[in-house]
Symmetry: C2
Subunit: 230 residues, 2 copies
DNA sequence: ATATTATTTTAGCTTTATCTAAATAATATT
DNA sequence: AATATTATTTAGATAAAGCTAAAATAATAT
């Protein structure tokens, strides 16, 4: 006899609530556990007043803990819910790139809409159809149906020392502008790189890509490229 | 030198407005050109008061002609817009059945959400990916990007005479209940059929399917099966 | 021609998600 | 410690999409 475990999330959020929860979750992953109203406001491009309103609703639905004036924390339920939205977002991104030949800089906005389609069977079948991918086109890990994430250790490229090498596994910034820049210079997920030189003065780097091409980049660019050191 | 023609629809409707427009368009295709508030109300499962409100908005955006108390007509712009939503709905249905192994009775609700995703490139690529299908899983024609529809002549099965034959090309009712019933008895799009007998009393029929199986069905069922007579 | 019924619209209310402006709490500076 | 600044919340508005109840209009039946 075999007991199967199910994730039952009885909470039902609107698309707007889902977007806010995702933002809070992402902000909470960047170091500090408690997220401020203003942080959320700039992330969501809405006014702080709107954020306060929304936080009340999210606290009501128990996906965040909210202490007025002191910021918010995502609850366990909230984390599970957020990870399911992230799962859907990233699976759709894979679909768009792998099946519909979208470029990696074209998928974010569309996935931002697709992630809100409510159909458990849809996402399960999509996952199957895509062959259970573990990473999205930007190298971000895709949580499984239970919310478990296989994280790869990764490091901003600017933190490598001269002669350190590795492989590009993700980008921190997924904006179209940045991704198109990477396309242009020939940096891509999976590329093998080695730091040839680092300029003391401004932190810019000289990088060898795939043992073929050398490439100069500013510290700011390098900080948004994540590598698996080898 | 070559001039390309574009369809430029500058109108932007909300999802709710799109759903109403589609309903008005579908009702206007069923015979009478002018559609009443009550018809729309029962189609949309909303109250007539809500319909009146919405009609004002749709008239404002010039997708319908609206004479208070006398019903509505879809404008040329409205037809083009409606056909684009229908195109998206049916392409997504094909995707769900062909690629994600959905049953034909499981696709409608999800497509009802997917059809509102706004991305011209998405739908163009999806169409390409699916091989420019001409019909959806229920046999309904898929309008092309200009709104042109390749209509097949089709006839309700109950209107065939004894010994008439043909091929099932579509269903009029796409409800899960009806489709599952057809699955059970083995009627499917593409099946070759022949009318073996018609009962005078209640209009029920005896049908030969694929020269193999005989099948009895009520007039009501037959009226919802559309055939291409041969 | 008028009265009755059915249909449709209007008026006014609710919820969600946004905003601006005003109030208040927390933090920083003298 | 008092005051100034910044962050956050509250109050009050608006727009979308629905509702109910009441009023208006059209269709029909007498
Ligand atoms: Mn989103
Ligand atoms: Mn991504
Ligand atoms: Mn819809
Ligand atoms: Mn269909």
């Amino acid at each position: 006899m075999c007991f199967q475990s199910y994730i039952v999330i009885m909470i039902r959020l609107t698309s707007a609530e889902e977007n806010y929860l995702k933002a809070v979750y992402h902000l909470s992953q960047e170091g500090k556990t408690t997220v401020s109203t203003n942080d959320i406001s700039s992330e969501m491009k809405t006014k702080p007043a709107s954020v306060s309103d929304m936080l009340r609703k999210l606290a009501e639905k128990e996906v965040i803990d909210y202490r007025k004036y002191y910021g918010v924390n995502v609850t366990e339920n909230g984390k599970k819910y957020a990870l399911q939205i992230i799962r859907k977002h990233r699976l759709w991104e894979v679909f768009l790139v792998e099946k519909l030949r979208f470029a990696w800089d074209e998928v974010h906005e569309v996935a931002e809409e697709l992630e809100h389609i409510k159909s458990p069977i849809l996402i399960q079948r999509l996952d199957e159809y895509l062959g259970h991918p573990k990473f999205d086109p930007h190298g971000d890990p895709i949580p499984d149906e239970y919310g478990d994430v296989k994280a790869r250790p990764r490091l901003p490229l600017n933190e490598l020392a001269i002669n350190d090498g590795g492989q590009i596994v993700a980008v921190k910034d997924s904006s179209a502008a940045f991704l198109r820049y990477l396309d242009k210079v020939g940096a891509y997920i999976g590329a093998r790189i080695k730091v040839l030189d680092k300029v003391e003065f401004d932190g810019s780097l000289e990088i060898l890509v795939d043992n073929k091409k050398t490439l100069f980049m500013s510290k700011d660019v390098a900080a948004n490229i994540l590598v698996l050191q080898q």
